[in-house]
Amino acid sequence: MQNNLIERYIYAVTRHLPDKEAEEVSREIDELISSMLEERADNPGSEDEKVRQVLTELGSPEALAREYTGRANDSLIGQPHYSLYLKVLKFVLMAIAIGISVAMMVSAIIEGPYPGPSDTSLWINWSVDAVVEWLTSLTSALLSGFAWVTIIFAILYHKGVKLDYDPDDLDDLPEVPQEKARIGRGELIGEAIFTTLFAILFIVMPYINIPIIGMDAKPISLFTPEVLIGVRYLLIASIVTVILEMIVKFIDKRYSLRVFGAIILTNLVSIVTVSTWLGNPEALNPVFAERFQELTGLSVYGINGQPVPGFGGHWAMLPLPFLIVIVIVVIVAIIEIISAGVKTFSSKN
């Protein structure tokens, strides 16, 4: 029984070592254990107890095996490669997630059997199918992206390939961005979530967009689907420019000239999109407007049916909240462009 215990211990230590080493290490440990037992020969206690004492003193087989394999190079990817690996991995996974999502969104709209306006059950089926397909493609694409980046970095690490990480010349070290010119992670995550929601509600499901429940027998959408479909390519352009802006911000992490350019482009496109969409007198679902007037006695157009002062043409008779949103978008765009400009150029000095 005790021999069996010793054999099992030695096997546990050596089974993961390379074959040629395992044999030699087995002999060594065997020798060590018998030396330790020899020393305890005169002690009281049964042979089995002594074997157990000795093996306990030697510690867990796993720890002993670790001592034999050594500490160096025992990780899949170690430093300094690990830091860069994490950065590249994050970037690649994010790029894959965005790329797959945009591609699926566009193909779901263009190729998919796009259901008609009113059949709710068809709509539910279509949405479930699109989401399932999106999740499957996303999962497999993320997994293979992860695998490739990991394999490549594992090879780079174990081949000892030098990273272009410490420049020969001290003057080549990159400049530290000033505090106010830095772009926080939280800002980007917030934008990403908002963009995704926006895309799902207004581009992927225009017939549902923002469902208003309880005003009619069945839910009605807040916005007129046909108008949303009419401005679909502007909406997609807005999303694309926002994604571009996020990618540039993610890479540069500070207000660079490229980021500034992207911010100008995004804001111009969103002004055009919002004023074309909400500036359309039909943008608000007429069914909703009618019900609203029936329930509250107030008209949503203009200021309770009267033109909004200071605005001409059809603008004065737009639903007031829409007019406010358009004005806010324009003001925010101007402020954002100016503040980005200030941050970009003040940090250059």
Binding site: E31, L32, S35, M36, E67, Y68
Partner: protein, 111 residues
Amino acid sequence: MEDFENTFENVSIELRRGLTNLVVLSQCKRPVYGYELVKSLGEQGFPIEANTVYPLLRRLEKQGLLSSDWDTSTDKPRKYYQISPEGLRFYDRLRAQWYENNKTVQEIIEE
């Protein structure tokens, strides 16, 4: 206070790690087997666990600083290690380095 004890334990292990190489090499000027080394170092006041000594001897051998031979003449076969010419050169240099560091560190911390 457990953190204090843990940290102390870790730092003191780190401190001893390099010294263990020096001490083990110093004992291999004549052929020794692993457990003999464990016992003699323990008696001289530098206790090292057997599960550290055996892998260390193997590593030093792989690095060419020790050579080894199995003595199978008795019914208890034993693996004897002895320092190689290269190992001796390495040991002399390491010892000189230790004396120098020891002197400098002493001067610094005794100020």
